[in-house]
């Protein structure tokens, strides 16, 4: 047994409202550059829908992931090493920019420059790829909220597959339609086919936390990773000629902060934590014969962090104590393995993805109530699960390679939780038979409810820092004045006043600033050095308390920084330097 640690994420789809805040903040943080205009490390897809890029999950076309050969071995679907090198001069299955979308901007200048005329000037869309005027016909979210579903919906590969079984399961008429949202990031797989596809060896899985990254200095732009990834989450920067992908926000995660997408999720539906897994058995688990066994095999890989044998093996592998402890408190381990309500996305690609999803329980209570039933009665709920608006078959194609049984079990657990918690809330005697019907105990159900419904920041994100084991080596923090309240404790401030001493790493400064903002009860006190006002909350009018430091009294000597509220003095050197 070779124990390795893996950062994982769980998303609770019941809470996703499709607001795209995760996508937008991620884009602002990571891909707001030229060459990656079309790149969405995080995107939110409406299901049923084609996804981004179009029909990416159809591996007959895109050849991503692994296949099991007749001899029981794993082979890259796009071909082995020799085939890769032979097709290196023109990758035969690379998506075209039109399979994503042609990024564009608008010709805003004509709005102000247009000569006086009878017509209103219009800002024409202009392609960011060719610079020419273009007709906007597709984008990353063209079929958002089922927009154009009668036309685009039937092209969803999953819809195509389950329609061959039953025409009735998926309908796009308004009255019978269903939809839910699927936020997607890189899966940071245990058996990543993008890494295996990279001819240069530039892609790698970090040994410490399992994050899959691209070494930008070693990438030569052969583009095999784009084909290799079945989730199409490796993108090609067409300006730099290098591959780029979701980094699991490693600069944030290393200092214990959640990813940008998780931090900004308004539904608080994302959970981040550690898995401990047995690296020696990954290939074996990924090559089980029956696709339906892939999900159980993946669960088998995840080790119980409370098991003394596992702990001993983890220590032998050099995993630090605080990482083991973080694995024991990991929300993702609880949801995926202990309660078994989180499922992997498309396990049939055999990459062992590490972003898990709690499938959505459709608005079932209201529906039952409408038909005159007790909508929160466990028996009624269990009975209704097969008649849910979102067909189980659809969810099964997404999460369990088409096996409906695990999905049904998860939905029953979620239904049981509602029913059981109703008795708790109404202070009625708890009906333990509801819990046992889904193989759980009442205590477990309450714990799961707390994690899913009311878990705080610290319970949703249990992220061990990269450095605690090496704290002594963290030279920037190594300051003898680090006592509580001492100058060394304040970010950005050294022993000789503000900004003196060695510069702080940005990550450390951000960490302190964010923690301060999240944990302090009142507005930042401007008298306190290092405190900040969040300008994003300021509407630009008036002057909120704490925006400026307090006025100095006349008796106090003038210091170097001018009081911004005072009259501007054009003769000071600072004012001269300004344009």
């Amino acid at each position: 047994m070779r124990v390795m640690a893996q950062l994982g994420m769980v998303m609770n789809l019941d809470k996703c409202i499709g607001c795209h805040t995760c996508s937008v903040t991620c884009k602002q943080a990571w891909t707001n550059r030229s060459g990656v205009e079309y790149v969405w490390f995080n995107n939110v897809e409406t299901r049923p829908g084609q996804g981004y890029p179009r029909r990416y999950s159809d591996q007959e076309t895109w050849k991503g992931g692994w296949v099991r050969t007749a001899r029981g071995r794993l082979r890259l679907r796009a071909g082995g090493r020799f085939k890769k090198l032979l097709s290196i001069f023109a990758n035969p299955v690379l998506p075209n920019i039109r399979d994503y979308y042609e990024p564009w901007t608008y010709d805003y200048e004509t709005l102000t420059d247009a000569p006086l005329g009878d017509d209103f000037p219009v800002a024409q869309p202009k392609s960011l790829i060719s610079g020419q005027p273009m007709a906007v016909e597709w984008s990353a979210n063209w079929d958002d909220d089922l927009g154009g579903a009668p036309e685009h919906g039937p092209r969803d590969p999953i819809v195509e597959r389950i329609r061959t079984e039953s025409e009735d399961k998926v309908r796009f008429e308004y009255e019978r339609a269903f939809m839910f949202f699927l936020p997607r990031i890189c899966e940071h797989c245990l058996n990543p086919s993008c890494v295996a596809s990279c001819p240069s060896g530039a892609m790698y899985k970090r040994a410490e936390d399992g994050i899959v990254l691209v070494d930008q200095d070693q990438c030569r732009g052969w583009r095999m990773c784009v084909t290799g990834c079945p989730y199409k989450k490796v993108y090609f920067n067409h300006r730099t000629g290098k591959a780029e992908k979701c980094t699991f926000c490693y600069p944030r995660v290393e200092v214990g902060l959640p990813t940008v997408c998780s931090e900004t999720c308004v539904g608080r539906l994302r959970y981040i934590g550690l898995f401990l897994y047995d690296a020696d058995r990954v290939t074996e688990a990924a090559s089980v014969e029956n696709e339906h066994d892939l999900y159980p095999a993946q669960l088998e890989l995840l080790l119980d962090p409370h098991d003394p044998q596992v702990i001993a093996a983890a220590r032998r592998s050099g995993i630090a104590e605080d990482w083991i402890s973080a694995a024991q408190h990991s929300p993702v381990y609880k949801l995926a393995k202990q309660y078994r309500v989180a499922l992997p996305l498309h396990p049939e690609f055999r990459t062992m993805p590490m972003v898990w999803y709690i499938p959505p329980l459709s608005p079932v209570v209201d529906r039952l109530t409408e038909t005159g039933h007790d909508g929160e009665d466990a028996g009624n709920l269990f009975g209704a699960i097969d008649a849910l608006r979102i067909p189980i078959e659809y969810l099964a194609e997404l999460f369990t390679a088409g096996d409906p049984e695990p999905v049904r079990t998860v939905l029953q657990k979620l239904a049981a939780m509602r029913s059981y918690m109703r008795d708790v809330t109404l202070e009625r005697p708890r009906d333990e038979s509801i819990a046992t019907a889904v193989g759980m105990t009442g205590g477990e159900i309450v714990e799961m409810y707390r994690l899913l419904a009311i878990a705080k920041y610290e319970q949703r994100y249990v992220i061990p820092t990269a450095y605690s084991g090496e704290a002594r080596e963290l030279e920037e923090l190594g300051c003898s004045l680090d006592v509580d309240g001492g100058p060394g404790m304040v970010a950005g401030s050294g022993p000789f006043g503000e900004a003196s001493g060695r510069p702080l790493p940005v990550s450390v400064e951000t960490f302190h600033a964010l923690r301060h903002r999240q944990t302090s009860e009142e507005l930042a006190d401007p008298g306190e050095p290092g405190a900040r006002i969040n300008l994003l909350n300021w509407d630009g009018k008036g002057r909120p308390a704490g925006l400026f430091p307090p006025r100095r009294t006349a008796s106090e000597p003038e210091s170097g920084t001018a009081d911004p509220t005072a009259d501007p003095r054009p003769d000071t050197p600072m004012a001269k330097d300004r344009p």
Binding site: L94, G241, E473
Partner: protein, 243 residues
């Protein structure tokens, strides 16, 4: 043997090697991020799928042909009973086909670069210069193959002029006289070739130096430890690791 001959065939080759080697080392050390194929397949793939393999595979055969023609002495092929005439026939047929494929391939690629809007937008001046030199080298090379083997004009046995000179370069005693006896087509092709290798490190052609042959031998999944963390930085005085 004139002074010009000494300059062209005794000095220039070494200047070219110095620039090629030092330029490549410099580029690798200071511009690893720019070391890429700069693929434009994302914009256009229909023409690329025909032109690029045609060009690259043709070029690989051409390179093998150069290695055989330049490095293997005539006496060796004589020894295995391959006549001068037979050697020229196979060189003409194989070299001609490969050279033609290369030329057609690069022709398709240049056409694509000019006519496909996004690809043309992504073409730098550096690329244009490189294409001119590259196409010139291919055309001149193809001319030597066709002309030098006696189909048109007089047959020229480059294995008695160019090849001895090429081999003599490696022992640092350039046989300038041999090269001086070669004909004009070969001299032009050789000069353009040297120009191509001189600009090589400063163009996108560097991607050829990192052909990923190691892919055949490495394990599929690559693991790497987190680097550039505080632990790998030099420790400050007084903070040395204990134990």
């Amino acid at each position: 043997m004139s002074g010009v001959d000494v300059l062209l065939w005794g000095v220039l080759p070494y200047v070219m090697v110095v620039i090629l080697v030092s330029g490549t080392i410099w580029r690798y050390r200071y511009d690893k991020f720019g070391w890429t194929t700069r693929s434009s397949e994302l914009y256009e793939s229909r023409l690329l799928r025909i032109g690029s393999p045609l060009f690259h595979f043709g070029l690989l055969v051409v390179i093998i042909g150069h290695v055989i023609g330049l490095l293997i002495p005539e006496s060796w092929t004589d020894a295995i009973g391959l006549s001068e005439h037979a050697y020229h026939i196979q060189a003409l047929v194989l070299g001609g086909i490969a050279g033609f494929c290369t030329l057609v391939g690069v022709g398709i690629l240049v056409y694509r670069r000019r006519t496909s809007g996004p690809v043309f937008m992504a073409t730098t001046r550096n690329d244009k210069l490189m294409y001119v030199v590259l196409v010139a080298a291919i055309v001149a090379g193809l001319a030597t193959t066709v002309l030098g083997t006696g189909i048109i004009g007089e047959q020229h046995s480059y294995r008695e002029t160019v090849s001895p000179w090429f081999r003599s370069l490696f022992v640092l005693q350039p046989d300038v006289a041999s090269m001086g006896q070669s004909n004009l087509e070969f001299k032009i092709h050789t000069l353009i070739g040297m120009l191509l290798f001189t600009i090589w490190p400063f163009t996108r052609l560097v991607h050829a130096f990192t052909a990923p042959l190691a892919y055949l031998f490495r394990p599929y999944i690559v693991y790497r430890s987190r680097d550039a963390g505080p632990a790998t930085r030099p420790t400050r005085r007084g903070w040395d690791r204990v134990g």
